[in-house]
């Protein structure tokens, strides 16, 4: 039986004492920082801007659509931004929209009623500048409550990419530095997959893998002839269970709810930060959690030059608070951590704390998405129904570009996420033409025969892609908002052309009947994989943090989220965020114990 810990009310949080560390944020990075530091015996205060929502009750993963009054849709007075709105309009996107709440595009998916409390209201959280679909979750656990679960490792093809093609900067670490920490994350949280022995996509310590259906087995066989492969979705999901955490999490029971909701797992087989990291950290007795704490500044001790704590606003009452800590750990997400650093101005840090390099907010990168292919596996049409979607994901097709050969038109690479088989709602029901018995039969016979995949490509880390504080606009709490200066470059556009071509070519080679080839690049931000705004490096002039995510300028300031990543690679970042954070927090705790921070 799953339980949730009895976390004291925020009125009980002691804001007078000096904590060993204050951690800002509670997602993959904040949760991991709290878990590791508390395990080392440090007294930690976690600040989360949102409230705590019990997703065990909120998500209702197994509710049938017809059991919900609106078939899973949000109340009609709420609005979710569409691709068209993100493209045609400019931020702030909620301006002029009459709806009671305005949400990001994820809320246009089916089952949006279950995730409506997990995402911010764009009306309260505006931003300005160039087009960007910025998906934010201000709630305990952040976006890990609904993440896509694809858990991949980076390799030296990524960490040393600059040495390979001459573009950008190498990471200040190599694979052997982070490998033991990837292992620790695998064992602590559980990950599902199949060993493939790929140098450029290292294997994890996998639990029971998801299985392929017939179309996917067929595609795998066909791709092998091209020297490419699809592997079962490497899901950050415990499929065998994690023995050390049966209190808060269960193993996956293949209920198949993963892909018919905005995401989220109410039995917590899929990793989420609260049940995987925060509650276990709380059980050490060393963690204090202050929700509804909107952080606006890292406070500096002008005498020592060190961070002395955090200034925050109570999200509900608007009251100002300060809290003292010996170490400050920012884990508010790539863009929010950068925002907090830029907001933390002082006479010694006129451009924001830890920003002597001028790189905070810059080198902003992510993954470019959009191109892909949909097709029909004809052998499946009209055959007996099978159960195909009881799994946390379909397949992953790892990068094949710029490994040995050099592509003439672009550098770096991309991978595809895809899947096939019967889903709860037949996608062809709205695309099949006609009506009547013939239409009904066509939908029935084709449901389950579709196969599709879409690419995620590396967006080059470029200095000019950056966020800064907007000089005028403020959010509901009076905090200056971010202004985006972010565009895809020619490299991404060329890469996207190649994605569509190779996707089509691979399906054709497998004899899959092509229904459509997507060539459109989705609005910047669509991948929800933002990175790079406080990058690591050995040179303090060109980077914000050292290899332990420690500020070059302020020794007791750490930034442990995706902002530290030197390049985006093309792999989904969550597992790397957690492995890096664990490594840095081991270092932090060691230095703290020795009195060196």
């Amino acid at each position: 039986m799953l339980v949730t810990p009895d976390i004291p009310d925020i009125s009980k949080v002691d804001l007078k004492k000096t904590y060993d560390a204050v951690v800002v944020g509670s997602g993959a990075a904040g949760g991991m920082a709290a878990f590791v530091l508390c395990s080392h015996g440090m007294k930690v205060l976690m600040l989360e801007a949102g409230r705590r929502i019990d997703t065990t009750k909120e998500l209702k993963s197994t509710e049938w659509p017809y059991e919900h009054p609106r078939r899973g849709d949000m109340p009609p007075d709420r609005h979710a931004l569409t691709l068209n709105e993100y493209t045609v309009r400019k931020p702030p996107y909620a301006a002029g929209i009459k709806a009671s709440h305005v949400h990001n595009y994820v809320q246009t998916w089916s089952g949006s009623d279950y995730s409506k409390n997990l995402f911010v209201d764009e009306k309260e959280h505006p931003y300005t500048g160039t087009n960007y679909a910025w998906v934010r979750s201000r709630v305990l656990g952040g976006k890990t409550n609904v993440w896509g679960r694809l858990a991949l490792r980076l390799s030296d093809y990524d960490f040393k990419a600059a040495s390979r093609d001459g573009y950008g900067e190498n990471w200040p670490i190599e694979y052997s530095d982070i490998e033991p920490y990837y292992d620790k994350v695998d064992l602590l949280l559980g990950i599902s997959g199949v060993k493939e022995n790929l140098e450029y996509l290292p294997d994890s310590l996998f639990q029971r893998p998801v299985r392929f259906n017939e179309a996917e087995v067929h595609l795998r066989g066909s791709l092998q002839k091209m020297g490419r492969l699809i592997t079962p979705y490497r899901a950050g999901v415990t499929t065998d269970g994690v023995k050390h955490n049966t209190k808060y999490r269960m193993r996956c029971f293949s209920r198949g709810a993963c892909n018919r909701r905005a995401g989220g797992c109410d039995i917590h087989a899929a990793f989420d930060s609260p049940t995987g990291l925060i509650y276990p950290a709380f059980d050490t007795g060393n963690l204090t959690i202050r929700t509804n704490a909107t952080v606006r500044e890292v406070l500096l001790d002008q005498n020592t030059g060190k961070a002395r704590g955090i200034a925050f606003i109570d999200t509900v009452t608007g009251r100002d608070y300060e809290v003292k800590a010996k170490v400050v750990v920012l884990a508010a997400s790539t863009l929010e951590s950068a925002r907090i650093m830029l907001l933390s101005k002082s006479s010694t840090h006129p451009n924001g704390i830890g920003n002597s390099s001028g790189h905070v907010g810059h080198n902003f990168c992510e993954h470019v998405m959009g191109p892909g292919v949909n097709g029909i596996y004809k052998k499946k049409v009209g055959t007996a129904r099978t159960l195909d979607d009881g799994r946390p994901g379909g397949f992953y097709l790892p990068r094949f570009r710029n490994l040995k050969d050099r592509h003439p038109k672009f550098i770096r690479g991309y991978g595809f996420e895809g899947g096939s088989g019967m889903t709860m709602f037949p996608d062809d029901a709205t695309s099949m033409t006609g009506f009547g018995k013939a239409y009904k039969k066509k939908v029935r016979e084709h449901a389950g025969a579709f196969i599709s995949m879409g690419a995620f490509g590396e967006v080059l880390s470029r200095y000019e892609n950056h966020v800064e504080l907007d000089p005028q606009m403020k959010d509901r709490w009076g905090v200056p908002v971010l202004r985006f200066n972010y565009k895809f470059s020619d490299n991404e556009k060329k890469m996207c052309e190649d994605m569509a071509e190779t996707a089509q070519e691979m399906f054709e080679a497998a004899g899959i009947e092509i229904v459509s080839v997507n060539r459109q690049i989705l609005t910047e931000g669509w991948s929800i994989h933002e990175m790079g705004t406080a990058r690591m490096g050995n040179d303090p002039k060109k980077s914000v943090l050292n290899q332990f995510q420690q500020s070059h300028d302020v020794g007791n300031l750490f930034v442990v989220d995706g902002s530290s990543h030197v390049s985006s690679a093309n792999q989904n970042p969550t597992w790397t965020i957690m492995a890096l954070c664990w490594r840095s927090c081991d270092y932090l705790a060691d230095r703290f114990r020795k009195g060196e921070l």
Partner: protein, 185 residues
Amino acid sequence: MSHKHSDKDEPARIDRREMVKMTAGALIAGPQLNRKKNEPVPHKFFTNEEFVLLDELSEIIIPTDDQSKGARAAKCASYIDKTLAESPHPEDKQKWREGLSLIESISKEMFGRQFMKATAQERISLLERISAQEANPVKPEEKFFSMLKSSIAHAYYTSRIGLLDELEYKGNTYLREFAGEEISK
């Protein structure tokens, strides 16, 4: 009829008692134990005439056949009616009103009488006319057909009849193992 499948393809499901023992707590309120009969909702937005017309259109688009019952039995018109009654968007309501009245005027033009008084074959021929440009609708009645069909399809395939009887959807259940095939290396 529905739910026909061979036993050999059946993945190992976990029986309900075992599941409750394993999961307890919040999960007891899972789908198997919480399935309520949705009572039909009397229409709130459409007039009687509009509702009867929409109900008929829905059944023509997704009719009862040998596999399963159609959109009428799945109460698709009621679902659309309820959605519109709750909608804060007057322009959406307007589109439906205008669309249904367009059907009536086309019916009068084609057959000299109301849609519900036309023969079954005439009704189908009207829908054939307004769906001819389905891939690229231009005229108001063609655009209305797109909206009508996608709304009916959404309502039908999220209904119990559409999901379980028509599509024989087999997921949303607790399994011991993932269904599917081992990959060959």
